[in-house]
Symmetry: C2
Subunit: 289 residues, 2 copies
Amino acid sequence: MSDIKRVIDIILQELAAAGAVAPARCACHGFAFDCCPQQVGGVLAAGATRLGLHASGGGAGEVAGLIDHTLLKADATASEVEKLCREAAEFHFATVCVNPTWVAFCARLLRGSGVGVCSVVGFPLGATTPDTKQYETRRVIFDGAAEVDMVINVGALKSGDLRLVERDIEAVTGVCRDASVVSKVIIEAALLSEEEKVAAATLTKAAGADFVKTSTGFGPGGATISDVMLMRRVVGDTVGVKAAGGVRDLEQMKAMVAAGASRVGASAGVRIVKESRGESVAEARPSAY
Amino acid sequence: MSDIKRVIDIILQELAAAGAVAPARCACHGFAFDCCPQQVGGVLAAGATRLGLHASGGGAGEVAGLIDHTLLKADATASEVEKLCREAAEFHFATVCVNPTWVAFCARLLRGSGVGVCSVVGFPLGATTPDTKQYETRRVIFDGAAEVDMVINVGALKSGDLRLVERDIEAVTGVCRDASVVSKVIIEAALLSEEEKVAAATLTKAAGADFVKTSTGFGPGGATISDVMLMRRVVGDTVGVKAAGGVRDLEQMKAMVAAGASRVGASAGVRIVKESRGESVAEARPSAY
């Protein structure tokens, strides 16, 4: 088994070096998480097969490695969160994405599984102060989060206070950078005009975030193809794009990846991976996100 | 002018001492905010006219003094928040209820108006950690909040972890008590079973909170008559009950007060006060909360 893994690793490294394909996880993933978005972005920009999803439907491992397996509803219970972690370990999702109150619990459950814990900050309204978001970020990192998805101050953006929007993003991304934790910036695109989307994505890139993310899943709309394309255009190849909200099956996920998404947030991850394997999806958990 | 105020104060004190009527604001309101819920509750329990709303439809001042004039949507702009404060000062609402990012702005605008600033903590999912909620509470108090509405950890309650629910509430109410700031505990009743509602209201009372509050306005349902009655039954006369979410006109507000509510959160405050004055409500702001 370890021989097979070694051979696969060598093949993936060779292919990655040739710029032909991105491994589902880069070689140093366990060491420094923030290397991944750039690599994935670089491969996408090179016109590669976008992680194999295009041509062949993608290997299940590749599909799962792009998904943040997500459960963010207020009334999620310990047993639901435990189930989420069990599924994540079984299907090898990139992370489980949970509210801050569950981070320590998930980190304990997922230790050694290769699945990270992602949490959310200033979620879902984004209307707390920068120092509160920073405190919340430190707390989830202390509890074991490897990735942090923060919501921008939408009201400040709409009021033209770009300085506050930038300071607010940096309050979170700075702490994440110090701790080698992946940062994602949720712009809640459904609430924004085209100009505001561009401004938000630009400030995200300027603040050194690892990803720009479309939506919280609690706003008036989820990820759209056009928003993902716009965000990819604005941030270029060095920043990841996460599509979240309403991605409920493999077809939608493929469309998001084709549009430029390098990560997808979904509660329908199990269904999506099963679809990619050609399995029945009847028993997959219905999506609430 | 100061003579008139003195006479009014004496009359209100006499009436309050006789238990005949509750002043819209108690005499010591400017000194210690947390005296109010008990007084209002006491008057209600004594079978009084529930602040005049029953018999006569209530004076506009009495109606307004029961309302937290609320704007909590993520994309609220500075000019919308400014309008909210202008309306609150004009109509003498109890508070403006805004997200943390707007507290300092509102406190500046409302200085000397007699209208307090209320903010929200762990809002609207309630799924952050107790220390994060405590930090957020300290921050909004620092910025000038006189009242704090926090959301309980719904997931912990549903998982049977009452100890965490209690610790979480106390993390906020303790800080509020130290600062003489009114605390309200949002149980998000629409997500709870009857037993869970009773447990949440009981823990709220045990934690020494000033109010128990029905809803965030972002959950699957708002305030209902039966929830307000249940909460009033559980917390008794020494804790306030705030009905929030979906209270859109005077009739609904009267029903909530009749059921035991001593405060109402609404974005339709202007409409409600105008209705109580018998004025046209055509130009009142439509409710989004």
